[in-house]
């Protein structure tokens, strides 16, 4: 009896498999390679980006995948490579990706890597005298302003910090007209912190704040007493800290020790993350930071949950990676990309053209504009640390 049942079950299985076979044959795997820091002190950025790319790919695949140029359905498969936040390794990783069937890559984490990497790409499309790499790259994290200008093959889905702080200081002027002076704190040896501090300072001055001075420290510094004493002596209304979570926490703790209590604290975009709260939630209470991500829309909430399920955390950087997968899906479909081994070069050109032609994309917080120099104009909001979590303080009209 059992033998007959087994035979029938096996037969049904074979029939089922045969029936399903044509459907599988119509599908192709579309490999998307991400790259960024997955080792070293910025490893968390790579982990989050990878989780976000995979979460978005799962979501797209679940909804039927991506339609390729010949009508075949494609299913995204994500691979993520480590560049250690090192320019040479970043270049080597991208050369490796470009030597495969990949028609686009997503990354990197660090601005210093992006800056060098975009430099090896062909600067101007169609320039026969330029032997640079003809391979489209779209950055999710590297935050230093204006990097995509380096090459016409480079794109970014990164928020504009200039716009964010311009809006923040203009808003502060209306909300806190009583605040007149500001003191800056900057991580002097980190490109992103330094560049953003310049933006903070100029926007503070534009909005009528008197910049009393600035304290400087290095990324791996361990003591901040001298810097905080300068702050204390200046007694500013606002302290703006352009630094990453480790030194932001070190400075905030020293401010707490020395009893430096400005009326308002402003932080760097990258510090609106879980790391700051893990390091110094109590001392960071009240700090205001502009960010291009918060789980405030149904899409953003869903994305945050999916990223968390895959071991990452959704923040302004990884949310950009999540959005990029949907951008790539749209471009693949619009440009009729084939994703086949024999169409790689044509697919790369189509992908570049598709990305360059974008005027607007869908973001987790709303529509994202695209600029002619291949940058994004993302919606943003202001969050503040409250009761150990980041809470939305204000959403500027876009």
């Amino acid at each position: 009896m059992y033998g007959k049942v087994a035979v029938i079950a096996a037969s049904l299985g074979v029939i089922g498999a045969l029936g399903a076979a044509p459907a599988f044959a119509q599908e192709r795997t579309v490999k998307i390679t991400g790259f960024g820091a997955k080792s070293g002190v910025v490893r968390v950025f790579g982990i989050n980006s990878e989780a976000a790319l995979k979460a978005a790919a799962e979501e797209i695949n679940k909804a039927g995948g991506v339609t390729l140029g010949d009508g075949t359905k494609g299913r995204f498969a994500i691979e993520f490579l480590d560049d250690r936040c090192n320019a040479e390794e970043g270049i080597s990783v991208v050369r490796r990706i470009a030597s495969s069937d990949a028609f686009v890559a997503v990354g990197p984490t660090c601005s210093n890597v992006a800056e060098s990497l975009f430099g090896i790409l062909q600067k101007k499309v169609g320039d026969a005298s330029d032997t640079g790499l003809q391979f489209p790259i779209i950055a999710d994290v590297a935050a230093k302003g204006g990097l995509a200008k380096i090459s016409e093959w480079a794109f970014r889905n990164v928020p504009s910090e200039f716009e964010m702080y311009k809006s923040l200081f203009a808003w502060l002027k209306t909300q806190h007209p009583d605040l007149k002076t500001i003191w800056g704190g900057v991580e002097k040896d980190f490109a992103h912190s330094n560049a953003t501090f310049g933006v903070m300072k100029s926007q503070a001055e534009t909005n009528g704040l008197k910049v009393l001075g600035q304290s400087e420290w290095l990324l791996a510094d361990t003591t901040f007493s001298t810097q905080v004493r300068e702050m204390r002596r200046a007694n500013p209304d606002i302290v703006a800290i352009s630094a990453h979570p480790f030194t932001t926490c070190g400075v905030l703790k020293e401010m707490d020790r020395q009893g430096v209590k400005p009326k308002l604290l402003i932080g760097l975009t990258s510090s609106s993350s879980i790391e700051t709260l893990q390091g110094c939630a109590k001392q960071a209470e009240g700090i205001i930071i502009p960010t291009s991500f918060a789980p405030v829309t149904p899409e953003a909430k869903k994305a945050a949950e999916q990223v968390a399920k895959l071991g990452g955390s959704a923040d302004l950087h990884s949310a950009a990676a999540y959005e990029i997968m949907f951008i790539l899906k749209d471009v693949i479909e619009k440009q009729k990309i084939m994703a086949k081994a024999d169409t790689v070069q044509a697919d790369r050109v189509k992908m570049r053209e598709g990305l360059a032609a974008l005027k607007e994309t869908n973001g987790l917080l709303g529509k994202v504009g695209r600029t002619p120099d291949r940058e994004a104009i993302k919606p943003f909001l202001f969050v503040h640390a409250k009761d150990g979590s980041w809470q939305v303080l204000y959403k500027p009209a876009s």
Binding site: G40, V44, T223, S225, K253, E275, C280
Partner: protein, 294 residues
């Protein structure tokens, strides 16, 4: 007047924070004193031990003292592991071999910490962090004074261990006359392991005190602390425990004074110049012990 008080305050803050450098310097110098080898993974192991104490006690609301003791215990275990991985099976006659193996271990420990924590800075508990002794505009941090006191206690305990116990006699014997010590029945391996465990315990405490003094732990700390530990060891005199303490406080103080007068971008420049000055004019350091190994 305010500038003078600020300058004095900078010296005081630096000297007190220098206690963490001193604790690290003691470990570096003790290993050098016994084995005549530099262990470049020492600071990374110390930070690793402090991280391990947090991870092992995660979920338990442990008091700071327990976290520190756990860091010391983890430091001891890591110290023994460092000995077996980077020294025990490496030809000791070749000084470069152990130097390179400890560089490798430094990077390995750092990467293990990064993989275990994703490189995220973690809040570290402190003792007496809310204690500040004030005298007008001048103040001293209670937590750093505790670290300073701990450094002094560690020095006294190590001195007692080295000069008042049989283990200390054996350690000094191995340090000064390894062949003769072996002929007298002293196990060189045993003494070496114990040295690594003891310096590991001290390193664990140093890592914990560093975390407590900053309030946050980060893998970013390993490399700068390795450099500081080496500078302190050279300035104090290779193998000299009192030298490591004095040099730790000195380096901490000088760092802060330079930062006060010249800014952060020139700070390390002057500390390095101090190191070169010692290497050229006083290569034996402040308290170089008499040579005596065969």
């Amino acid at each position: 007047m305010l500038d003078l008080i600020d300058a004095l305050q900078s010296v005081a803050d630096g000297v007190l924070f220098g206690a963490t450098y001193a604790l690290l310097g003691i470990g570096f110098t003790l290993i050098f004193g016994v084995m005549h080898k530099i262990n470049l993974s020492y600071a990374a192991a110390s930070i690793g031990a402090a991280y391990a104490s947090l991870l092992l006690l995660a979920g338990v609301k442990a008091p700071p003292v327990l976290v520190f003791l756990m860091a010391a215990a983890c430091g001891g275990v890591i110290g023994a592991l460092v000995y077996f991985v980077a020294f025990r099976f490496i030809p000791l006659a070749n000084p470069l071999a152990t130097l390179m193996s400890t560089v490798g271990l430094l990077l390995l420990i750092d990467e293990i910490v990064v993989h275990a924590t994703a490189g995220v800075p973690l809040n570290y508990p402190a003792l007496f962090s809310d204690v500040v002794i004030r005298a007008g505009a001048f103040n001293l941090r209670g937590d750093l004074m505790f670290v300073f006191a701990l450094g002094c206690v560690a020095m006294v305990l190590l001195w007692a261990l080295l000069y008042r116990t049989r283990l200390g006699i054996a350690t000094r014997a191995v340090s000064q006359q390894p062949v003769a010590a072996q002929l007298c029945g002293i196990s060189i391996d045993g003494v070496n392991i114990l040295t690594f465990v003891i310096t590991g315990v001290l390193g664990g405490l140093a890592g914990a005190m560093t975390g407590a003094a900053i309030g946050v732990l980060s893998p970013l700390l390993s490399l700068p602390l390795t450099v500081k530990g080496l500078i302190v060891t050279v300035i104090g005199g290779l193998g000299s425990i009192p030298g490591a303490i004095v040099a730790g406080l000195l380096v901490g103080g000088i760092e802060n004074v330079v930062q006060f007068f010249r800014g952060v971008s020139e700070r390390d420049l002057y500390v390095m110049m101090l190191l070169f000055a010692f290497l050229v004019f006083r290569p034996g350091g402040l308290f170089a012990p008499a040579a005596g190994r065969d």
